[in-house]
Protein backbone atom coordinates (compact mmCIF):
# COMPACT_ATOMS: atom_id res chain seq x y z
CA UNK A 1 0.00 0.00 0.00
CA UNK A 2 2.87 2.41 0.77
CA UNK A 3 4.30 1.77 -2.71
CA UNK A 4 0.95 2.49 -4.36
CA UNK A 5 0.51 5.65 -2.29
CA UNK A 6 4.10 6.82 -2.83
CA UNK A 7 4.12 6.18 -6.57
CA UNK A 8 0.80 7.94 -6.89
CA UNK A 9 2.16 11.00 -5.08
CA UNK A 10 5.34 10.82 -7.20
CA UNK A 11 3.23 10.82 -10.34
CA UNK A 12 1.39 13.84 -8.99
CA UNK A 13 4.74 15.64 -8.67
CA UNK A 14 5.56 14.91 -12.31
CA UNK A 15 2.09 15.90 -13.57
CA UNK A 16 2.26 19.16 -11.64
CA UNK A 17 5.77 19.83 -12.95
CA UNK A 18 4.81 19.23 -16.58
CA UNK A 19 1.69 21.40 -16.23
CA UNK A 20 3.84 24.34 -15.18
CA UNK A 21 5.66 25.12 -18.41
CA UNK A 22 7.70 27.93 -16.86
CA UNK A 23 9.09 25.48 -14.32
CA UNK A 24 10.16 23.08 -17.06
CA UNK A 25 11.84 25.81 -19.08
CA UNK A 26 13.43 27.43 -16.01
CA UNK A 27 14.81 24.19 -14.63
CA UNK A 28 16.37 23.19 -17.96
CA UNK A 29 17.43 26.50 -19.40
CA UNK A 30 18.92 28.16 -16.30
CA UNK A 31 21.83 25.76 -15.79
CA UNK A 32 22.56 25.60 -19.52
CA UNK A 33 22.65 29.39 -19.74
CA UNK A 34 24.84 29.45 -16.60
CA UNK A 35 27.13 26.93 -18.20
CA UNK A 36 27.44 28.77 -21.46
CA UNK A 37 27.81 32.31 -20.06
CA UNK A 38 29.95 31.49 -17.06
CA UNK A 39 31.97 28.91 -18.93
CA UNK A 40 32.60 31.20 -21.88
CA UNK A 41 33.13 34.33 -19.76
CA UNK A 42 35.44 32.82 -17.18
CA UNK A 43 37.18 30.72 -19.81
CA UNK A 44 37.93 33.75 -21.99
CA UNK A 45 39.14 35.76 -18.98
CA UNK A 46 41.42 32.94 -17.94
CA UNK A 47 42.59 32.52 -21.52
CA UNK A 48 43.45 36.22 -21.77
CA UNK A 49 45.58 35.90 -18.64
CA UNK A 50 47.22 32.90 -20.28
CA UNK A 51 45.98 30.38 -17.75
CA UNK A 52 43.44 28.27 -19.61
CA UNK A 53 41.74 27.91 -22.93
CA UNK A 54 38.07 28.98 -23.13
CA UNK A 55 37.04 25.55 -24.43
CA UNK A 56 38.91 23.92 -21.53
CA UNK A 57 36.86 25.74 -18.96
CA UNK A 58 33.56 24.93 -20.69
CA UNK A 59 34.59 21.30 -20.51
CA UNK A 60 35.73 21.59 -16.88
CA UNK A 61 32.48 23.33 -15.96
CA UNK A 62 30.21 20.73 -17.63
CA UNK A 63 30.00 18.14 -14.79
CA UNK A 64 29.32 21.03 -12.41
CA UNK A 65 26.38 22.05 -14.54
CA UNK A 66 24.99 18.52 -14.47
CA UNK A 67 25.32 18.70 -10.69
CA UNK A 68 23.61 22.10 -10.65
CA UNK A 69 20.67 20.71 -12.64
CA UNK A 70 20.27 17.87 -10.16
CA UNK A 71 20.53 20.33 -7.28
CA UNK A 72 18.03 22.83 -8.76
CA UNK A 73 15.47 20.23 -9.77
CA UNK A 74 15.68 18.17 -6.61
CA UNK A 75 15.64 21.14 -4.26
CA UNK A 76 12.92 23.04 -6.12
CA UNK A 77 10.73 19.95 -6.23
CA UNK A 78 10.70 20.02 -2.43
CA UNK A 79 9.33 23.56 -2.42
CA UNK A 80 6.05 21.79 -3.16
CA UNK A 81 6.13 20.46 0.43
CA UNK A 82 5.70 24.05 1.63
CA UNK A 83 3.07 24.78 -1.02
CA UNK A 84 1.19 21.60 -0.13
CA UNK A 85 1.20 22.61 3.51
CA UNK A 86 0.07 26.15 2.78
CA UNK A 87 -2.63 25.14 0.31
CA UNK A 88 -3.99 22.46 2.63
CA UNK A 89 -3.21 19.40 0.48
CA UNK A 90 -0.65 18.06 2.94
CA UNK A 91 -3.07 17.76 5.86
CA UNK A 92 -5.27 15.50 3.74
CA UNK A 93 -2.27 13.22 3.19
CA UNK A 94 -1.24 13.28 6.85
CA UNK A 95 -4.55 11.76 7.99
CA UNK A 96 -4.22 8.82 5.58
CA UNK A 97 -3.09 5.53 7.20
CA UNK A 98 0.45 5.65 5.78
CA UNK A 99 0.35 9.26 4.71
CA UNK A 100 3.60 10.35 6.33
CA UNK A 101 5.71 7.66 4.68
CA UNK A 102 3.83 8.12 1.42
CA UNK A 103 4.48 11.85 1.26
CA UNK A 104 8.19 11.35 1.98
CA UNK A 105 8.72 8.59 -0.56
CA UNK A 106 6.39 10.25 -3.06
CA UNK A 107 8.47 13.44 -2.94
CA UNK A 108 11.76 11.50 -3.06
CA UNK A 109 10.69 9.41 -6.05
CA UNK A 110 9.09 12.34 -7.87
CA UNK A 111 12.00 14.70 -7.24
CA UNK A 112 14.53 12.05 -8.21
CA UNK A 113 12.78 11.13 -11.47
CA UNK A 114 12.54 14.77 -12.49
CA UNK A 115 16.17 15.46 -11.62
CA UNK A 116 17.48 12.35 -13.41
CA UNK A 117 15.41 13.12 -16.49
CA UNK A 118 16.64 16.69 -16.72
CA UNK A 119 20.24 15.86 -15.94
CA UNK A 120 20.24 13.20 -18.66
CA UNK A 121 18.89 15.65 -21.20
CA UNK A 122 21.90 17.86 -20.48
CA UNK A 123 24.26 14.87 -20.57
CA UNK A 124 23.14 14.50 -24.19
CA UNK A 125 25.06 17.73 -24.91
CA UNK A 126 28.24 16.06 -23.61
CA UNK A 127 29.55 15.07 -27.05
CA UNK A 128 29.54 18.79 -27.98
CA UNK A 129 32.08 19.33 -25.21
CA UNK A 130 35.02 17.04 -24.89
CA UNK A 131 33.07 14.15 -23.36
CA UNK A 132 32.07 10.95 -25.11
CA UNK A 133 30.47 8.58 -22.56
CA UNK A 134 29.77 5.04 -23.78
CA UNK A 135 26.94 2.77 -22.55
CA UNK A 136 28.97 1.42 -19.61
CA UNK A 137 29.85 4.93 -18.40
CA UNK A 138 26.28 6.09 -18.96
CA UNK A 139 25.05 3.33 -16.65
CA UNK A 140 27.33 4.55 -13.86
CA UNK A 141 26.42 8.14 -14.65
CA UNK A 142 22.69 7.40 -14.29
CA UNK A 143 23.35 5.62 -10.99
CA UNK A 144 25.37 8.53 -9.59
CA UNK A 145 22.86 11.11 -10.86
CA UNK A 146 20.02 9.12 -9.25
CA UNK A 147 21.88 8.83 -5.94
CA UNK A 148 22.67 12.53 -5.90
CA UNK A 149 19.06 13.31 -6.79
CA UNK A 150 17.70 11.18 -3.92
CA UNK A 151 20.15 12.76 -1.49
CA UNK A 152 19.50 16.31 -2.58
CA UNK A 153 15.73 15.82 -2.65
CA UNK A 154 16.00 14.42 0.88
CA UNK A 155 18.11 17.42 1.91
CA UNK A 156 15.52 19.80 0.44
CA UNK A 157 12.71 17.86 2.11
CA UNK A 158 14.49 18.02 5.45
CA UNK A 159 14.60 21.82 5.29
CA UNK A 160 11.21 22.31 3.66
CA UNK A 161 9.19 20.09 6.02
CA UNK A 162 9.15 22.45 9.03
CA UNK A 163 8.93 25.64 6.94
CA UNK A 164 5.78 27.52 6.06
CA UNK A 165 7.18 30.13 3.70
CA UNK A 166 8.55 29.60 0.21
CA UNK A 167 10.41 32.92 0.50
CA UNK A 168 12.23 31.58 3.52
CA UNK A 169 13.12 28.46 1.59
CA UNK A 170 14.51 30.50 -1.33
CA UNK A 171 16.67 32.44 1.13
CA UNK A 172 17.94 29.13 2.45
CA UNK A 173 18.77 27.99 -1.08
CA UNK A 174 20.98 31.05 -1.56
CA UNK A 175 22.51 30.75 1.87
CA UNK A 176 23.13 27.02 2.01
CA UNK A 177 22.54 25.08 -1.18
CA UNK A 178 24.32 27.36 -3.66
CA UNK A 179 27.51 27.54 -1.48
CA UNK A 180 27.29 23.76 -1.17
CA UNK A 181 27.51 23.61 -4.96
CA UNK A 182 30.30 26.23 -5.09
CA UNK A 183 32.31 24.05 -2.72
CA UNK A 184 31.81 20.86 -4.69
CA UNK A 185 34.54 21.54 -7.23
CA UNK A 186 31.93 22.54 -9.81
CA UNK A 187 33.40 26.02 -10.34
CA UNK A 188 37.04 25.52 -9.44
CA UNK A 189 39.25 22.56 -8.59
CA UNK A 190 40.28 22.01 -4.97
CA UNK A 191 43.93 21.80 -5.91
CA UNK A 192 44.51 25.53 -6.33
CA UNK A 193 42.23 26.67 -3.49
CA UNK A 194 43.15 27.92 0.01
CA UNK A 195 43.60 25.27 2.67
CA UNK A 196 40.37 26.12 4.56
CA UNK A 197 38.39 25.96 1.31
CA UNK A 198 39.98 22.60 0.53
CA UNK A 199 38.95 21.36 4.00
CA UNK A 200 35.37 22.47 3.41
CA UNK A 201 35.40 20.82 0.00
CA UNK A 202 36.63 17.56 1.50
CA UNK A 203 33.79 17.68 4.06
CA UNK A 204 31.18 18.33 1.37
CA UNK A 205 29.59 15.09 0.07
CA UNK A 206 28.69 16.90 -3.16
CA UNK A 207 32.44 17.12 -3.93
CA UNK A 208 32.50 13.33 -4.23
CA UNK A 209 29.44 13.42 -6.46
CA UNK A 210 31.09 16.01 -8.65
CA UNK A 211 34.33 14.04 -8.68
CA UNK A 212 32.46 10.92 -9.83
CA UNK A 213 30.54 12.80 -12.53
CA UNK A 214 33.73 14.48 -13.82
CA UNK A 215 35.69 11.23 -13.72
CA UNK A 216 32.96 9.27 -15.52
CA UNK A 217 32.41 11.92 -18.18
CA UNK A 218 36.17 12.02 -18.84
CA UNK A 219 36.31 8.25 -19.29
CA UNK A 220 36.70 7.59 -22.99
CA UNK A 221 35.33 4.41 -24.58
CA UNK A 222 37.58 1.47 -23.76
CA UNK A 223 39.35 3.26 -20.89
CA UNK A 224 39.16 1.82 -17.35
CA UNK A 225 36.77 3.48 -14.87
CA UNK A 226 38.24 6.15 -12.53
CA UNK A 227 40.18 4.70 -9.61
CA UNK A 228 38.38 6.62 -6.89
CA UNK A 229 34.87 5.87 -8.25
CA UNK A 230 33.99 3.31 -5.57
CA UNK A 231 35.19 5.73 -2.87
CA UNK A 232 33.01 8.48 -4.35
CA UNK A 233 30.02 6.13 -4.60
CA UNK A 234 30.46 4.98 -0.97
CA UNK A 235 30.43 8.51 0.39
CA UNK A 236 27.45 9.57 -1.73
CA UNK A 237 25.50 6.42 -0.78
CA UNK A 238 26.25 6.88 2.93
CA UNK A 239 25.27 10.58 2.86
CA UNK A 240 22.07 9.81 0.94
CA UNK A 241 21.08 7.08 3.39
CA UNK A 242 21.71 9.40 6.33
CA UNK A 243 19.59 12.13 4.78
CA UNK A 244 16.70 9.76 3.96
CA UNK A 245 16.79 8.41 7.51
CA UNK A 246 16.76 11.94 8.92
CA UNK A 247 13.71 12.72 6.74
CA UNK A 248 11.94 9.56 7.91
CA UNK A 249 12.60 10.53 11.51
CA UNK A 250 11.36 14.03 10.91
CA UNK A 251 8.05 13.08 9.24
CA UNK A 252 7.31 10.44 11.84
CA UNK A 253 7.25 13.11 14.55
CA UNK A 254 3.81 14.59 15.16
CA UNK A 255 3.44 18.00 16.83
Amino acid sequence: MIMQASSSLALREIVRFLRQKNRVIGALATPVIFWFLLGSGVGRSLASSGIRERADYLTYFFPGIVLLIILFTAIFSTVSVIEDRREGFLQGVLVAPDGRSAILFGKLIGGTLLAVFQALIVVLIAPYTDYHPDARVLMYLVAMIALLAVGLTALGFLFAWPMDSTQGFHALINLFFVPLWFLSGALFPASGAAEWIRTLMRMNPLSYGHDALAGLLATRPGMPLPLDLSHDFSIVIASTLLLVMACALQVSRRS
Binding site: L9, R12, R16, Q91, G92, V95, A96, S255
Partner: protein
Protein backbone atom coordinates in the same frame (compact mmCIF):
# COMPACT_ATOMS: atom_id res chain seq x y z
CA UNK B 1 -11.65 5.40 30.39
CA UNK B 2 -15.43 4.81 30.31
CA UNK B 3 -16.99 2.15 28.07
CA UNK B 4 -16.48 3.18 24.46
CA UNK B 5 -18.20 0.23 22.74
CA UNK B 6 -21.02 2.30 21.19
CA UNK B 7 -18.99 5.39 21.01
CA UNK B 8 -17.56 6.80 17.78
CA UNK B 9 -15.31 9.34 19.47
CA UNK B 10 -14.55 9.70 23.13
CA UNK B 11 -12.18 12.18 24.74
CA UNK B 12 -11.31 12.38 28.40
CA UNK B 13 -9.20 14.97 30.16
CA UNK B 14 -7.60 16.19 26.95
CA UNK B 15 -5.09 18.99 27.31
CA UNK B 16 -2.65 20.55 24.86
CA UNK B 17 0.05 23.22 24.92
CA UNK B 18 1.99 25.01 22.20
CA UNK B 19 5.26 25.45 24.04
CA UNK B 20 4.32 27.20 27.28
CA UNK B 21 0.97 28.36 26.01
CA UNK B 22 -1.85 26.14 27.26
CA UNK B 23 -4.60 26.05 24.63
CA UNK B 24 -6.76 23.14 25.82
CA UNK B 25 -7.49 22.09 29.36
CA UNK B 26 -9.31 18.99 30.58
CA UNK B 27 -11.70 18.49 27.67
CA UNK B 28 -14.23 15.64 27.65
CA UNK B 29 -16.56 14.69 24.84
CA UNK B 30 -18.50 11.69 23.63
CA UNK B 31 -19.93 11.18 20.15
CA UNK B 32 -22.35 8.25 19.99
CA UNK B 33 -22.30 5.98 16.94
CA UNK B 34 -24.48 7.55 14.24
CA UNK B 35 -24.70 10.78 16.21
CA UNK B 36 -23.80 14.34 15.33
CA UNK B 37 -21.58 16.30 17.69
CA UNK B 38 -20.61 19.94 17.46
CA UNK B 39 -17.59 21.60 19.05
CA UNK B 40 -18.70 25.20 19.26
CA UNK B 41 -16.56 28.13 20.23
CA UNK B 42 -15.50 31.61 19.16
CA UNK B 43 -12.25 32.12 17.29
CA UNK B 44 -9.24 31.15 19.39
CA UNK B 45 -11.22 28.87 21.70
CA UNK B 46 -9.17 25.76 20.86
CA UNK B 47 -11.58 24.05 18.45
CA UNK B 48 -9.05 23.48 15.70
CA UNK B 49 -6.43 22.17 18.12
CA UNK B 50 -8.95 19.68 19.50
CA UNK B 51 -9.89 18.77 15.92
CA UNK B 52 -6.25 18.19 14.98
CA UNK B 53 -5.86 15.90 17.97
CA UNK B 54 -8.94 13.85 17.08
CA UNK B 55 -7.97 13.68 13.40
CA UNK B 56 -4.49 12.34 14.39
CA UNK B 57 -2.52 15.30 13.00
CA UNK B 58 -1.30 16.30 16.46
CA UNK B 59 0.01 13.77 18.95
CA UNK B 60 -1.83 13.56 22.26
CA UNK B 61 -0.16 15.29 25.19
CA UNK B 62 -2.58 14.95 28.10
CA UNK B 63 -5.68 12.80 28.42
CA UNK B 64 -7.00 10.08 26.16
CA UNK B 65 -8.97 9.97 22.93
CA UNK B 66 -10.47 6.86 21.41
CA UNK B 67 -11.96 6.73 17.94
CA UNK B 68 -14.07 3.75 16.89
CA UNK B 69 -12.99 2.05 20.10
CA UNK B 70 -9.25 2.44 19.38
CA UNK B 71 -6.87 4.56 21.39
CA UNK B 72 -5.36 7.38 19.36
CA UNK B 73 -2.26 7.28 21.46
CA UNK B 74 -1.50 3.65 20.62
CA UNK B 75 -3.27 2.98 17.31
CA UNK B 76 -3.33 6.12 15.15
CA UNK B 77 -2.99 4.16 11.89
CA UNK B 78 -6.06 1.89 12.27
CA UNK B 79 -8.02 4.94 13.42
CA UNK B 80 -7.12 6.73 10.19
CA UNK B 81 -8.84 4.00 8.20
CA UNK B 82 -12.09 4.74 10.02
CA UNK B 83 -12.19 8.50 9.68
CA UNK B 84 -12.89 10.89 6.85
CA UNK B 85 -11.52 14.35 7.48
CA UNK B 86 -12.75 17.59 6.01
CA UNK B 87 -10.46 20.48 6.87
CA UNK B 88 -11.14 24.19 7.17
CA UNK B 89 -8.95 24.81 4.11
CA UNK B 90 -9.73 22.46 1.22
CA UNK B 91 -7.22 19.60 1.06
CA UNK B 92 -7.46 19.28 -2.70
CA UNK B 93 -4.79 19.97 -5.30
CA UNK B 94 -5.87 22.99 -7.32
CA UNK B 95 -3.54 22.09 -10.19
CA UNK B 96 -5.20 18.71 -10.75
CA UNK B 97 -8.57 17.83 -12.16
CA UNK B 98 -11.45 16.72 -9.96
CA UNK B 99 -11.08 13.10 -11.06
CA UNK B 100 -7.28 13.16 -10.57
CA UNK B 101 -7.72 14.45 -7.03
CA UNK B 102 -10.06 11.59 -6.20
CA UNK B 103 -7.79 9.06 -7.88
CA UNK B 104 -4.73 10.18 -5.89
CA UNK B 105 -6.74 10.05 -2.69
CA UNK B 106 -7.95 6.52 -3.44
CA UNK B 107 -4.38 5.40 -4.19
CA UNK B 108 -3.27 6.89 -0.91
CA UNK B 109 -5.63 4.48 0.81
CA UNK B 110 -4.59 1.54 -1.36
CA UNK B 111 -7.88 1.16 -3.26
CA UNK B 112 -7.68 -1.06 -6.33
CA UNK B 113 -8.05 0.66 -9.70
CA UNK B 114 -11.32 -0.97 -10.79
CA UNK B 115 -13.01 -0.46 -7.44
CA UNK B 116 -11.60 3.04 -7.20
CA UNK B 117 -13.00 4.12 -10.57
CA UNK B 118 -16.41 2.76 -9.61
CA UNK B 119 -16.34 4.62 -6.31
CA UNK B 120 -15.21 7.84 -8.02
CA UNK B 121 -18.12 7.72 -10.46
CA UNK B 122 -20.59 6.96 -7.70
CA UNK B 123 -19.36 9.71 -5.40
CA UNK B 124 -19.15 12.36 -8.11
CA UNK B 125 -22.74 11.54 -9.01
CA UNK B 126 -23.88 11.55 -5.38
CA UNK B 127 -22.38 15.00 -4.90
CA UNK B 128 -23.77 16.33 -8.19
CA UNK B 129 -20.37 16.98 -9.78
CA UNK B 130 -20.31 14.10 -12.27
CA UNK B 131 -19.94 16.54 -15.18
CA UNK B 132 -16.98 18.32 -13.59
CA UNK B 133 -14.63 15.35 -13.41
CA UNK B 134 -12.25 16.67 -16.08
CA UNK B 135 -12.10 20.25 -14.81
CA UNK B 136 -9.22 21.71 -12.85
CA UNK B 137 -10.21 22.21 -9.23
CA UNK B 138 -8.88 25.79 -9.32
CA UNK B 139 -11.55 26.64 -11.90
CA UNK B 140 -14.41 25.60 -9.59
CA UNK B 141 -16.36 27.80 -7.18
CA UNK B 142 -15.86 27.47 -3.41
CA UNK B 143 -19.08 25.48 -3.03
CA UNK B 144 -18.16 23.03 -5.79
CA UNK B 145 -14.68 22.57 -4.34
CA UNK B 146 -16.28 21.61 -1.04
CA UNK B 147 -18.45 19.07 -2.83
CA UNK B 148 -15.40 17.62 -4.55
CA UNK B 149 -13.68 17.38 -1.21
CA UNK B 150 -16.63 15.59 0.36
CA UNK B 151 -16.69 13.18 -2.60
CA UNK B 152 -12.97 12.61 -2.03
CA UNK B 153 -13.28 12.05 1.71
CA UNK B 154 -16.16 9.57 1.31
CA UNK B 155 -14.23 7.54 -1.25
CA UNK B 156 -12.70 5.40 1.49
CA UNK B 157 -16.11 4.79 3.14
CA UNK B 158 -15.28 6.14 6.58
CA UNK B 159 -17.61 5.44 9.48
CA UNK B 160 -16.79 8.74 11.17
CA UNK B 161 -16.77 12.09 9.43
CA UNK B 162 -14.72 14.85 11.07
CA UNK B 163 -15.17 18.40 9.80
CA UNK B 164 -13.32 21.52 10.89
CA UNK B 165 -15.41 24.62 10.20
CA UNK B 166 -16.66 23.09 6.96
CA UNK B 167 -18.50 26.17 5.73
CA UNK B 168 -15.71 28.71 6.21
CA UNK B 169 -15.60 31.17 3.34
CA UNK B 170 -18.91 30.09 1.83
CA UNK B 171 -21.90 32.37 1.37
CA UNK B 172 -25.09 31.60 3.35
CA UNK B 173 -26.93 29.95 0.44
CA UNK B 174 -24.05 27.58 -0.33
CA UNK B 175 -23.60 26.94 3.39
CA UNK B 176 -27.18 25.80 3.75
CA UNK B 177 -26.86 23.64 0.60
CA UNK B 178 -23.73 22.04 2.01
CA UNK B 179 -25.42 21.20 5.29
CA UNK B 180 -28.32 19.55 3.50
CA UNK B 181 -25.81 17.47 1.49
CA UNK B 182 -24.00 16.46 4.68
CA UNK B 183 -27.27 15.61 6.37
CA UNK B 184 -28.32 13.43 3.41
CA UNK B 185 -24.98 11.61 3.38
CA UNK B 186 -25.08 11.12 7.12
CA UNK B 187 -28.47 9.43 6.91
CA UNK B 188 -27.76 7.31 3.86
CA UNK B 189 -24.33 6.12 5.03
CA UNK B 190 -25.08 6.00 8.76
CA UNK B 191 -22.10 8.19 9.51
CA UNK B 192 -21.14 9.54 12.89
CA UNK B 193 -20.31 13.22 12.46
CA UNK B 194 -18.16 15.49 14.59
CA UNK B 195 -17.67 19.06 13.46
CA UNK B 196 -16.39 22.37 14.77
CA UNK B 197 -17.89 25.75 14.09
CA UNK B 198 -17.96 29.29 15.37
CA UNK B 199 -21.39 29.89 13.83
CA UNK B 200 -24.07 29.46 16.49
CA UNK B 201 -26.82 28.56 14.04
CA UNK B 202 -24.76 25.68 12.63
CA UNK B 203 -24.61 24.03 16.05
CA UNK B 204 -28.40 23.81 16.41
CA UNK B 205 -28.97 20.58 14.40
CA UNK B 206 -26.29 18.70 16.38
CA UNK B 207 -27.40 16.03 18.84
CA UNK B 208 -24.91 17.32 21.38
CA UNK B 209 -22.52 20.23 21.65
CA UNK B 210 -19.39 21.10 23.52
CA UNK B 211 -19.03 24.81 24.09
CA UNK B 212 -15.40 25.91 24.30
CA UNK B 213 -13.92 29.19 25.44
CA UNK B 214 -10.20 29.93 25.72
CA UNK B 215 -9.39 26.23 25.78
CA UNK B 216 -11.89 25.34 28.50
CA UNK B 217 -15.16 23.48 28.33
CA UNK B 218 -17.87 25.97 29.21
CA UNK B 219 -20.90 23.71 28.75
CA UNK B 220 -21.80 20.46 27.07
CA UNK B 221 -24.88 18.37 26.42
CA UNK B 222 -27.95 18.28 24.22
CA UNK B 223 -28.79 21.64 22.64
CA UNK B 224 -32.43 21.55 23.80
CA UNK B 225 -31.46 20.75 27.40
CA UNK B 226 -28.80 23.43 27.48
CA UNK B 227 -31.22 25.95 26.12
CA UNK B 228 -33.99 25.06 28.55
CA UNK B 229 -31.50 25.25 31.42
CA UNK B 230 -31.24 28.95 30.64
CA UNK B 231 -34.82 29.56 31.61
CA UNK B 232 -37.67 31.46 30.10
CA UNK B 233 -38.34 33.46 27.00
CA UNK B 234 -37.41 37.12 27.23
CA UNK B 235 -37.76 40.42 25.43
CA UNK B 236 -34.94 42.25 23.69
CA UNK B 237 -35.46 45.95 23.00
CA UNK B 238 -33.20 47.51 20.44
CA UNK B 239 -32.27 51.10 21.30
CA UNK B 240 -29.60 53.74 20.74
CA UNK B 241 -29.54 54.55 24.49
CA UNK B 242 -29.60 51.19 26.27
CA UNK B 243 -28.42 52.46 29.67
CA UNK B 244 -31.01 55.22 29.89
CA UNK B 245 -33.82 52.95 28.73
CA UNK B 246 -32.74 50.15 31.10
CA UNK B 247 -32.91 52.55 34.06
CA UNK B 248 -36.48 53.46 33.18
CA UNK B 249 -37.61 49.89 32.52
CA UNK B 250 -36.17 48.65 35.83
CA UNK B 251 -38.83 50.69 37.65
CA UNK B 252 -41.48 48.34 36.21
CA UNK B 253 -40.60 45.67 38.82
CA UNK B 254 -40.75 41.86 38.64
CA UNK B 255 -38.35 41.87 35.75
CA UNK B 256 -34.60 41.37 35.30
CA UNK B 257 -32.95 43.95 33.06
CA UNK B 258 -29.56 43.59 31.38
CA UNK B 259 -27.84 46.22 29.28
CA UNK B 260 -26.38 44.95 26.00
CA UNK B 261 -24.72 46.83 23.15
CA UNK B 262 -27.54 48.77 21.45
CA UNK B 263 -30.18 46.72 23.29
CA UNK B 264 -31.83 46.00 26.61
CA UNK B 265 -32.69 42.44 27.62
CA UNK B 266 -35.77 42.09 29.81
CA UNK B 267 -36.59 38.77 31.49
CA UNK B 268 -39.97 38.45 33.26
CA UNK B 269 -39.60 37.11 36.80
CA UNK B 270 -43.29 36.19 36.80
CA UNK B 271 -45.68 35.46 33.94
CA UNK B 272 -44.96 35.13 30.23
CA UNK B 273 -42.70 37.16 27.98
CA UNK B 274 -45.26 37.76 25.18
CA UNK B 275 -47.60 40.09 27.15
CA UNK B 276 -44.53 41.82 28.57
CA UNK B 277 -43.26 42.44 25.04
CA UNK B 278 -46.57 44.05 24.06
CA UNK B 279 -46.59 46.22 27.19
CA UNK B 280 -43.00 47.34 26.67
CA UNK B 281 -43.67 48.14 23.02
CA UNK B 282 -46.62 50.33 24.02
CA UNK B 283 -44.73 52.18 26.73
CA UNK B 284 -41.25 52.48 25.27
CA UNK B 285 -41.88 51.99 21.57
CA UNK B 286 -40.80 55.54 20.74
CA UNK B 287 -37.32 54.98 22.15
CA UNK B 288 -36.97 51.49 20.68
CA UNK B 289 -35.67 50.50 17.29
CA UNK B 290 -37.14 47.01 17.75
CA UNK B 291 -38.88 44.85 20.32
CA UNK B 292 -38.24 41.13 19.91
CA UNK B 293 -39.64 38.15 21.75
CA UNK B 294 -36.67 35.78 22.16
CA UNK B 295 -36.05 32.21 23.21
CA UNK B 296 -32.78 31.57 25.04
CA UNK B 297 -30.05 30.82 22.52
CA UNK B 298 -26.60 29.33 22.61
CA UNK B 299 -25.33 32.90 22.57
CA UNK B 300 -27.16 33.49 25.84
CA UNK B 301 -25.62 30.33 27.21
CA UNK B 302 -22.17 31.63 26.31
CA UNK B 303 -22.94 34.99 27.89
CA UNK B 304 -24.20 33.31 31.04
CA UNK B 305 -21.20 31.03 31.36
CA UNK B 306 -18.42 33.44 30.43
CA UNK B 307 -19.88 36.88 31.13
CA UNK B 308 -18.91 37.87 27.60
CA UNK B 309 -20.77 38.33 24.36
CA UNK B 310 -20.16 35.77 21.63
CA UNK B 311 -18.72 38.35 19.27
CA UNK B 312 -16.36 39.86 21.83
CA UNK B 313 -12.73 38.90 22.20
CA UNK B 314 -11.42 37.59 25.56
CA UNK B 315 -11.09 40.38 28.12
CA UNK B 316 -13.75 42.46 26.43
CA UNK B 317 -17.36 42.65 27.70
Amino acid sequence: MADSSLCAVQAEGVGYSYGRKRVLENIDLRLEEGGMFCVLGPNGSGKTTLFKLISTIFALQDGEISVAGRSLRHFPTPVRRKIGVLFQNPAVDMKLTVRENLRYHGNLYGLETYDLEKRINKNLEALGVENRGGEMVESLSGGLRRRVEIAKVLLTRPSILLMDEPTTGLDPAIRSELWSIISGIRNSRKLSVLFTTHLLEEAEPADEILLLDQGHSVASGKVSELRSSLGKEYVRIGTYQPKKLAARIRKEGEIEVTVEPAAVKVVPLRGLAAPLAIRLWREYGKEATSVTLCRPTLEDLFLQKTGRLWSSTPGEI
